[in-house]
Amino acid sequence: MSALDEIKIGGLGASRKRVEDSRFIRGKGNYTDDITLPGMLHMEILRSPLAHARIKSIDTSKAWDIPGVHLVLTGEMMATRNLAWMPTLSYDTQAVLATDKVRFQGQEVACVIADDPYIAKDACEAIDVDYEPLPVIVNPRQAVADGAPVIRDDKESQTGNVIYDWEVGDKAGTDRAFEQADLVSKLQLHYPRSHPSPIECCGSIADFNRATSKLTVYMTTQAPHIIRAAVALVAELPEHMIRIISPDIGGGFGNKVPVYPGYVCSILASILLERPVKWIEDKSGNLISTGFARDVYLDGEMALRRDGKILGVRIHTDADHGAFFSDAQPSKFKIGLMHSAFAAYDIPAAHLTARGTYTNKAPGGVAYRCSFRVTEAMFFQERMVQAAADDLGMDQAEFRRMNFVRDEDFPHRTPFGFLTDSGQYAKCLDVGLKAIDYEEFRREQAEARKRGRLLGLGISTMTEPLGAGNSREYDILGIKMFDSAELKVHMTGKAIVRTGAKTQGQGHETTWAQIVSHELGIPADDIVVEEGDTDTAPFGMGTYASRSTPVAGAAVAMVSRKIRAKARKLAAHLLEVSEEDVEWELGRFYVRSAPDRGVTIQECAMAAYSNMPDGMEPGLENTAYYDPPNLTWPFAVYIVTVEVDPETGVWDVLKMVAVDDCGVRINPMIVEGQIMGGLTEAYAMANMQFITFDADGNCVGSNYMDYLLPSAWETPGFELHSEVVTPCPHHPIGAKGIGECAAVGGPAAFVNAVIDALGGTGVRNIDMPLLPDRVWEAITYRRDVSGAPPVRADD
């Protein structure tokens, strides 16, 4: 018997068609809003129209009078159950329903539970709230100004609006580097507030059963086990009586990690009414109140030697966290993994200071398609590198190449203390430059310039830390960041694998089976994958920050190896030889001295239930918990060429190439899908997608008419390259995270391209998104353009 063809059985490297597609293309997905339970009621939330105001009174009597209304909840009522406030994922508190005052536009003030969502909405409009407006703060500068109102006057220890001052790196070493510098290059920018905005909004159906005391919650969560723990703590229910089920999710991108007031209210309502209560958020609710991302002011400088060597970097970040510090991030780091900046470059010294402030804006600070603020880190890195190369008069590609960490220098300790694992940075850059035809484009650019046409080329490179933990350094609220997988091989050799991750479109149902297939030789079609039910799935931290393949995927490989180890004993028993004489090839054990004598993994599975050796525990099942030794560090080069219209400021993408080295690709088709999706979000952020606020704290971007997302028409085509493969040295199958790389590294490529097109004008920065009016202003007045709120009249 010959070895199996791994690609044919859907193993590692197969572009296997997705299992989950069968239901989605038929309209048979099972999203939260598709679920209807007997006796189910509907909940709607009344939100604050003002960004900062004291609540003088709330009159709910007219709402109660509407037929079909079962319950009207206010903060006062929540307070009697100690639920008016809840803890956040960053050791702060957040109002569930406002009691004292509202602190951002869209904040939850009351909710109505009724027979029908239309009735619930009617009743919300019948609630009369008397507000006393207060001065509004929409950026950190206002937050720390003299006489600024204290937003969090609910906290006794809070005398101003600063949440934290934090630093990391080597201050003294960095100071020395700047003393030795021939040239210091500076850059200031604002990474605008963005919203992950999956097409499906958040929602939940809470179903409390008095007879069993069990609470089942169907909800849009990327991290069901964290939610179970949070519900146990917040609602003070016993954890074994809480079952969180995350059904199909219509996109997450970080938006569906936090605990939101709507979830909590639906749970309390179900407990009070003893009926299932469904809450489905509308788009405005989603955009104005749930986890935003970014909104960071970055101010940095780079110490340079005349020959182009980078000697040191200083960064100061000023983060606008909104009204509650509820970032979903590892607890040891106040500004996420911002200090992963410049990890791809060999820089002797670096120092970062960070300040966080409260403002009258929605809370969040979620990792929107990135590993805890690495998007801001990589954006600043590549914008700073471009500015430095320009200041030195050096070629953009050469400047990067000479400062890259070299292939032979891994593992490499970054100046902020991360240990990068592997990579071929220069090779990736070469592939990208060739694909964009770099030299030829530079010639065309010079020619075009003579005729008044503005062409530009932008390079962005990135490496990001993906796959938190290890558990020594990474935890959320003290819960260590590891993951798990459970594998049960049935007697006929078919199997089920469950993990603590939760797919939202990434294709786990397809790819986890491929890992098992690679490890055990069981055809992928014989393996079903299940996630998202806390009563059945092993504990895990969920899916975000590109951590599924690095952590849960590794656990799938490790549990498969445990199964194989037991199967080897079964094989030895069946073959009547000692275990040491048994060899493995994909899907089959055989006798070393007689390769024709063998048993398949399926025969071993049958033996585990029907013919195990004396004394062996029956069955072929196991669980693995995987605590990664390090993060994985994929690398990418993104290069964009653009043409800018000097008359209007409109810019078009001419070509974009992406070179991603994410180590071993489990399913190349799915990996490419992730990259294209990320590039599109990068384009969106660079071109049109942002949330801003006017001086009164009104959210501009509260619906899809104001919050612009690119359609198929605007989105450019992408050319993907997968030639460079550097397996992760510590991951069981050599894979690295990939889901977010393009969204992280992509934005700087677009912005660098536009700034490059404006070469000679002295413009160093235009804040994203590069709206036509901003680009036009930069060209016309030869000046930098800030996008910081309050909103500009032209935008």
């Binding site: 479109g505 899908g673 899809y704």
Partner: protein
């Protein structure tokens, strides 16, 4: 049929009701609906056809796209009463019992979906295009789908999926 109201001292709001007749996926239906009921809610709640999704409420995202008399319509913007006398097609009507529609096959073959939430609307918008133009260019497809948002795929594979389906439909038409 039974409707139970909570008795608030005999007070029942007189919810106005209109009777409408329409066809959904080839089946004739009669429904009694509140005049303000959105077509999307009639489809999802009234008919239980949950493949039509709701994303944005403002007619921007296209997740709720269905065909009304063959033309793509965002069903969150149309009232159910406006469907009176019309033919509605939803994603559930695309496949026959034994066979997928080429668009469904195309989306699977070309990895034209990830989370799947926009997919039904995308396929129906694409169907309206292919019914009119069996041999569209990439640009035609991008324009036809420009009212439907996807946050996962970056559209490139969606365009490929539609072109895959167009080619298959043309081949089938050639054989016929």
């Amino acid at each position: 049929m039974t409707i139970v109201y909570d008795d608030h001292e005999g007070q029942i709001t007189d919810v106005p009701v209109r009777r409408i007749r329409f066809t959904v996926n080839g089946e004739k239906k009669i429904a009694e609906v509140e005049p303000r009921l959105l077509l999307a809610h009639l489809i999802r709640r009234g008919l239980g056809l949950t493949g039509t999704h709701m994303g944005c409420d403002t007619t921007n995202c296209g997740a709720c796209t269905v065909l009304v008399d063959g033309r793509p319509v965002k069903s969150c913007t149309m009232l159910a009463v406006q469907a009176d006398g019309h033919e509605i097609s939803t994603v559930e009507g695309l496949a026959s019992a034994s066979e997928l529609h080429p668009l469904q096959e195309g989306f699977r073959e070309e990895h034209g979906l990830q989370c799947g939430f926009c997919t039904p609307g995308m396929m129906l918008a694409a169907k309206a295009l292919l019914d009119e133009n069996p041999d569209p260019s990439e640009e035609d497809v991008r324009w036809a789908l420009s009212g439907n948002l996807c946050r996962c795929t970056g559209y490139q594979n969606i365009v490929k999926s539609v072109l895959w389906a167009a080619a298959k439909l043309r081949a089938e038409a050639g054989e016929a």
